[in-house]
């Protein structure tokens, strides 16, 4: 373990300072408790009709699971949609598309307007995929992905929050989080797939195991940069196939460790200033380290 990590560990970070400035943000979704509610079931591929609609659904599916290869113009990193939306966007508690689609159009504080589903997808491209200018709302990519999401949501009620939506909130442990403990969880549980330096693993040119930080990961504007969001994703879904096996503390520690590393700059960067960007977009956006000093190092400087 590097001395830096050990040093970081001395700094057990309590919960983020409660900023009171009104600002744009994209809060962690807070679905209600759904303990005893039965799960929505998306349709099977075998039910797809053999017509133009079925063909477009298949195109959307392909884009969703093979995004780097099929939409290189709009993907600036090594990720696919299905890295954060497991089981090709079908899995409950892994931000399933069938729970997202029926909730749009919706107001989002992130850009202070009512967003259509197309605009929501554009946001994914811009931040999670670090893709620069996203595909146009009437592009073939957005059309195919929207149709795929619509199909998965077949027979779902409109405007009703379904159980399993988003990554159900895992509350921050009373002791806060600890980066050194997170580093240890990472090396023991995550590094075998994501690499010792969060770099992911490739076959040929394409990533199979997603990079978690560095130039090929999500940028500082992506929802996953929030420690609370990453902790919830990790708790429910990681290690792959062993969701729920980490304690809440482990999930928070490792989420903080991952999100204490540099990644591409927030594309909303204000006047080239990390501090101004922090105040405008990050100071009240859940728990995150953007623009903060950790052991004398300013986090959020971005990486190319």
């Amino acid at each position: 373990m590097s001395p830096l990590i050990l040093a970081l560990g001395l700094l057990a970070v309590p919960s983020a300072n409660a900023a009171t400035i009104a600002m744009e943000d994209q809060s962690q979704l807070q679905p209600a408790s759904h303990a005893a509610v039965s799960q929505f079931r998306p349709p099977q591929e075998s039910e797809l009709p053999d017509n133009a609609y079925g063909k477009l659904v298949r195109e959307g599916y392909a884009l969703f699971v093979d995004t780097q290869r099929l939409a290189p113009k709009y993907v600036g990193n090594g990720l696919n949609c299905s890295n954060c939306h497991l089981d090709q966007g079908r899995l409950a508690n892994s931000a399933p598309l069938w729970a997202a689609y029926p909730m749009y159009p919706a107001y989002r504080k992130k850009n202070d307007k009512v967003n259509t589903f197309a605009e929501r997808l554009q946001g994914c491209f811009q931040f999670s995929m670090n893709g620069g200018t996203p595909p146009a709302a009437d592009s073939s990519e957005i059309a195919a992905l929207s149709v795929y999401a619509y199909w998965l949501a077949s027979k779902a009620p409109l405007g009703v929050e379904l159980p399993g939506r988003g990554y159900p909130d895992v509350a921050q442990p009373a002791k806060g989080y600890n980066l050194a403990q997170g580093a240890q969880v990472y090396q023991e549980q995550c590094a075998v797939c994501h690499g010792g330096e969060g770099q992911g693993q490739k076959v040929g040119e394409h990533y199979v195991m997603p990079p978690l930080w560095g130039k090929d990961s999500y940028n500082w504007g992506a929802g996953m940069h929030r420690i609370n969001t990453a902790a919830s994703f990790i708790k429910h879904n990681m290690p792959l196939g062993k969701g729920g096996s980490l304690s809440d503390q482990q999930a928070w520690d490792v989420a903080a460790y991952v999100n204490s590393h540099e990644r591409p700059q927030d594309p909303r960067l204000v006047d080239g200033s990390v501090e101004k960007t922090r105040v405008k977009f990050h100071a009240n956006d859940g728990v995150n380290l953007y623009g903060q000093n950790v052991e004398g190092v300013l986090i959020g400087q971005g990486i190319r």
């Binding site: 591929e45 392909a62 290869r69 075998v192 693993q201 076959v203 199979v208 792959l240 196939g241």
Partner: protein
């Protein structure tokens, strides 16, 4: 400052040592180790290390050295049991294990033809391989072994082109506990969730993937 002569001498020595190591590994592969019982790999895994599909003996050529080393050590330690391989591994010295692992990694293995994640699966086995069965917390085989079963890094071995009998035997070994040498039980818990039909299905699927000779 180091003279050019010394640098050259040093490089020549390094080359010679590296070569000797490789030769030793090749010798173990072809003729066996120094101790009794250390049978040559070639006897079961074929002259080019490509395995023998009919007998269920896996391909070794081109496997990552750390993976091969770990398997031989695990045969010794008992976390992977096999009546044929355990006596062989027990008879190999640590240096021989290292040498033969390096030699096998250096042997040319075939590369699987590209399979893309975006291709919609056509049958149940392919669906399991490319999408998983998440209602039972089973991720896609492809998510760790690569869409074409290429294998990833040192921990996730290639599946494409391995004999179906070998792949099925390994899944069953995880099911019955005779193999438990995977990192964090990542494979074990998946294998235990598979039905007998699924074991055969995915084994045949990966065995059937087309291979190309390494360029």
């Amino acid at each position: 400052m180091m003279s050019l002569e010394r640098v050259l001498m040093g490089s020549a020595l390094m080359l010679l040592l590296g070569n000797a190591h490789a030769l030793e590994g090749r010798k173990i592969f072809a003729e066996g180790g120094s101790q009794p019982g250390a049978m040559p790999c070639v006897a079961c895994h074929g002259a080019d290390g490509a395995g023998m599909a009919a007998a269920g003996f896996p391909r070794l050529a081109g496997l990552p050295a750390p993976y091969v080393r770990k398997q031989l050590e695990d045969f010794k330690g008992g976390s992977r049991s096999n009546p044929v391989m355990q006596p062989v591994a027990n008879a190999l010295t640590d240096a021989e294990i290292e040498a033969v692992s390096q030699a096998l990694a250096a042997m040319p293995g075939p590369v699987p033809q590209a399979v893309y994640r975006g291709d919609m699966p056509l049958n149940a086995a392919q669906k399991l391989a490319q999408q998983g069965a998440w209602e039972r917390q089973i991720p896609a085989c492809a998510s760790c072994h690569g869409p074409a079963g290429t294998g990833l890094g040192d921990a996730f071995p290639p599946l494409a082109g391995q004999p179906a009998a070998y792949l099925a035997a390994q899944l069953m070994a995880w099911q019955n506990g005779t193999r438990h040498n995977d990192p964090n039980d990542l494979m074990g818990h998946i294998a235990k969730s598979l039905t007998a039909e699924e074991v055969q299905g995915v084994a045949q699927y990966f065995a059937s993937l087309k291979l190309e000779a390494k360029p």
